[in-house]
């Protein structure tokens, strides 16, 4: 008997609403990131069951609970490692990794560097607020020198990480920076990051309105300059990107710093995956192959 299957209805922002509302502080930059991700997924019409949102631990890492996709809320700093395993087991899934600067550049710094050099095909969004929020306001790896926090009450004396330069050096193939106060711009960066085949890194200034009184919306707005507005800027030029990444102060660039498309993704480079995702492959080893394994030992 023929079954009539209704055409799938298109994905809307309402479909992506999570089971609970975010518990972020009113005004938190992370709301803007969540909205941009929802809009990007709707614009790209990626079925939500084919999306996995994976985070570590921290305020921003609560993200997977607020969006209706498959989600994993993993350990502090480990989201990229988990995401790599998941992507290699089923490379047909769209993988989004979300987290904060402490999670990604502090405790997770090792995985950050290695996931970039492997060119794992996923989008990594860091909601960078330059502070530890969930632990109530300590210095983070992107806190500026001199910033006073509960853990460094007389001012930070350690130089911050430059996530964009680090990503360029580690071999990320798509590198961008957004601002959660610039919705349309951010949405476009999320879309590009999802569409890029390879590791996409999107560092988002996402102000912490409770604990970071230095890097506020008001502080950022006059400083941010969109790279897209500079028609001479070539995002395929790695050296130019490195130069732009070092700008900080009166002018801080946002937008796409760098993209290259000539590097194979990790899953694309592995012949084991040529016949399709592992999750759909036969569990059993063919008998002739099994026999050859034993014959090697005789």
């Amino acid at each position: 008997m023929a079954t009539v299957i209704a055409p799938p209805k298109s994905l809307t922002v309402a479909d992506l609403k999570g089971k609970v509302d975010p518990d972020w502080c009113p005004g938190c930059g992370d709301f803007g990131v969540l909205a941009a991700v929802e809009k990007a997924l709707v614009e790209l019409q990626i079925p939500n069951h084919n999306v996995v949102t994976i985070s570590g631990i921290g305020c921003s890492s609560n993200f997977p609970g607020y969006i209706n996709t498959y989600g994993m809320h993993t350990l502090h700093g480990r989201a990229l490692a988990v995401a790599t395993g998941l992507k290699l087991a089923n490379h047909e899934l769209t993988v989004l990794v979300t987290g904060g600067d402490g999670d990604g550049f502090g405790i997770g710094g090792n995985h950050f560097v290695h996931t970039m050099r492997r060119n794992v095909d996923l989008l990594y969004i860091v909601m960078d607020n330059q502070i530890y929020g969930l632990t109530t306001g300590q210095t983070s790896p992107t806190s500026r020198i001199g910033m006073k926090t509960k853990s460094m009450p007389f001012g930070n004396i350690e130089a911050p990480i430059n996530p964009i330069s680090l990503a360029l050096a580690a071999g990320a193939t798509f590198i961008a920076r957004g601002f959660s106060g610039e919705q349309k711009h951010l949405t476009q960066l999320v879309k590009q990051g999802i569409q890029h085949k390879g590791f996409s890194f999107l560092d988002v200034f996402s102000p912490c309105v409770t604990y970071n009184h230095d890097n506020t919306y008001q502080w950022f707005r006059p400083r941010l300059k969109k790279l897209e507005d500079d028609l001479t800027y070539d995002s395929a030029d790695w050296m130019a990107a490195m130069g732009k990444s070092l700008l900080w102060g009166e002018e801080i660039p946002i937008g796409k710093f760098f993209e290259r498309t000539d590097v194979p993704t990790l899953h694309g480079a592995e012949p084991v995956l040529n016949t399709g995702p592992l999750v759909h492959s036969d569990v059993q080893i063919p008998p002739d192959v099994a026999r050859s394994f034993i014959a090697e030992l005789m």
Partner: protein
């Protein structure tokens, strides 16, 4: 008593101890003989001292034994370390031009080879090794053809000239020994059986392939690296994704990520790497995503002695990760079991959606054993548990139809949907969560729900226990002595029981394979009839004895322990039992006589 023959080859790392060992192993297994090989080595690439023991015989050879019949020292140091331990009937073949024998016991045959007269040593630097192999096989009563065949295979890739050169050297050693040295009293028999010879690491890797592992990742760490090597070499034929990761934290998290996508996923390490994985095990338990981790124990603590064996990680396994959660912990009993245990533990981990730990050690990981190829079953029972991998007809919308990933059930397990299936979207979290995955850790803390989720997960423990058999006593129930061990000591304890029985002290044996769940009541039931009980283990503090006591209040009559990095030999256990039956002590720590 089993009839066996043991060969020891000693020298510096880089002197070529492995090749003669491989040649002997191949020839012996092709004669239908069983064998057990153990290489005592050091963490050095060139130099130092390594000593390979190969013990063979027509019946199963479960351990390195007490006696060496033939020793081939490749340098003076090896001669000095081992000659003194040889006894009546043994022989020592050595290069007469570079090595001076010391005093040998009566009945020990010294067999000097005039190496430069028998081979052109300017052309072939390992000529002494090949000559010695030829001479040894002649004395063991094995025809030259067997050696010729193996040499042809061994050097095939290097071309006919190299093959014929080596065959010629081996022939010279063989003929020289036939003319000048007395053959061994017991010529090695032949049987019609054929065995596979493999290490525990190879066995666990193959067991993983048989279990349907599709994702394997690791960071190199002795003595577990052999699992990675087998996996990497066979990945494409077995259709397994194999990755080398930046550290063991990355390893366990990557493995869990792959498992979460729906494949069977495994990783292996040693104690130090396992320590880094600890938090990840808790994640596996909390997200209810099964993963299997192998720990190949080496002598600790800290970096410890990387090339030496120990059973010192038990309490690390019992305490790995904070909080209470269901786990499965099993210790393979021999190298064949290293293969079998992997599909078994995967079935339990999958059914109960929890982490499974295989607690191996260097003795099995890097030792080699002859195994009947029929025991390497690539068609084992595979039970993936309640796994949702396809959509139902009603699930084509973007919603999730009220699916509860962590539905509270009587068994404690809940049907697990994998990402990509329409209609089952949910978030798996390491935070405490309710049935639908929503966190109850931050905004919605709730003591009632928290209690219900703890109890749901912990209810799995009962199911796991029912799925795992209790241990069984081997030997006469009314024996005078009961030896209790766990994991890799099975072979040596078995032989110690035989020797004790021959010497008039009847002995039986209880070996523990499943450590969690332990089946404490069944163990107590077995031990209540025992007359003198001894717990034998390869660690300082009696980790298993303390665990058994904590679970059952059981206290044995005595303890036999060893923590010098080397495995037990049968006589260590036999002598310790006699010493303790004599009432001298209730703790024996046998000294390892061989200096390796």
């Amino acid at each position: 008593m089993r009839q066996t023959f043991a060969i020891g080859i000693g020298g510096a790392a880089g002197q070529g101890v492995a090749t003669p060992g491989d040649i002997f192993a191949k020839i012996l297994s092709r004669r239908g003989l069983h064998l057990n090989a153990y290489n005592a080595y050091q963490s050095i690439i060139r130099g130092g001292h390594t000593f390979l023991t190969i013990r063979t015989g027509p019946e199963k050879v479960t351990n390195m034994g007490d006696r060496l019949d033939l020793v081939i020292p490749l340098n003076q140091d090896a001669m000095d370390r081992h000659l003194g331990l040889l006894t009546d009937g043994a022989a020592c073949i050595y290069n007469a031009e570079t090595i001076t024998p010391g005093a040998a016991a009566e009945g020990v045959a010294l067999c000097p080879l005039p190496v430069s007269k028998l081979a052109d040593i300017t052309r072939n630097k390992v000529a002494q090794n090949t000559l010695a192999v030829g001479a040894g096989l002649s004395m063991m009563g094995i025809g030259f053809q067997a050696l010729e065949e193996v040499l042809a295979e061994q050097f095939k890739k290097k071309g006919d000239t190299v093959v014929s050169e080596n065959v010629g050297i081996a022939r010279a050693g063989f003929d020289y020994a036939s003319a000048n040295f007395r053959p061994f009293a017991w010529p090695l028999p032949m049987t019609g059986n054929r065995y596979a010879v493999l290490s525990g690491n190879t066995a666990m890797a193959m067991g993983g392939a048989a279990a349907g592992v599709k994702f394997y990742c690791a960071y190199p760490m002795s003595p577990s690296t052999g699992v990675l090597h087998w996996m990497a070499a066979h990945a494409r034929r077995a259709n397994i994704m194999v990755r080398q990761v930046e550290d063991e934290i990355g390893v366990v998290n990557m493995a869990i990520g792959a498992a979460h996508a729906g494949v069977r996923s495994m990783c292996a390490t040693s104690g130090g790497g396992f320590a880094l994985m600890s938090e990840g095990l808790g994640m596996s338990a909390m997200m209810e995503t099964p993963v299997v981790v192998i720990d190949c124990q080496r002598a600790g603590p800290s970096t410890g002695v990387p090339t030496k064996t120990e059973q010192g990680d038990l309490w690390q396994m019992l305490g790995a990760a904070f909080g209470d959660y269901p786990r499965v912990l099993a210790a393979p009993l021999d190298i064949g079991d290293c293969f079998k245990i992997i599909p078994e533990i995967f079935n339990i981990a999958d059914r109960f959606q929890c982490p499974g730990i295989v607690l191996c050690d260097l003795l099995l990981s890097e030792g080699r054993l002859s195994v009947d190829p029929k025991d390497l079953d690539f068609n084992p029972v595979i039970d993936r548990g309640e796994l949702i991998t396809t959509a139902t007809s009603a699930s084509s919308t973007h919603g999730n139809g009220g699916y509860k990933r962590y539905k509270i059930t009587e068994s404690g397990t809940s049907p697990r949907a994998v990402p990509g299936v329409p209609g089952y979207t949910h978030t798996a979290a390491t935070d405490e969560h309710e049935e639908d995955g929503v966190l109850i850790s931050d905004e919605f803390t709730n003591p009632t729900k928290r209690r219900a989720m703890m109890e749901k997960r912990m209810r799995k423990v009962g199911g796991i226990e029912a799925s795992v058999p209790p241990p069984a006593l081997v030997g006469p129930r009314d024996a005078e002595v009961t030896l209790i061990g766990w994991g890799s000591t099975k072979g040596v304890i078995e032989e110690a029981c035989e020797i004790l029985t021959e010497q008039g002290i009847s002995a039986n044996h209880l070996q523990i394979r499943w450590l969690v769940p332990l089946h404490g009541e069944a163990i107590l039931e077995i031990l209540k009839d025992s007359r003198h009980t001894f717990i034998v283990e390869n660690n300082y503090s009696g980790q298993f004895a303390r665990y058994l006591r904590s679970e059952t209040s059981y206290v044995p009559d005595g303890y036999i322990r060893k923590y010098d990095g080397e495995p037990f030999m049968p006589h260590h256990i036999v002598e310790a039992v006699k010493e303790q039956l004599g009432g001298k002590s209730n703790l024996s720590v046998p000294a390892h006589e061989i200096l390796v």
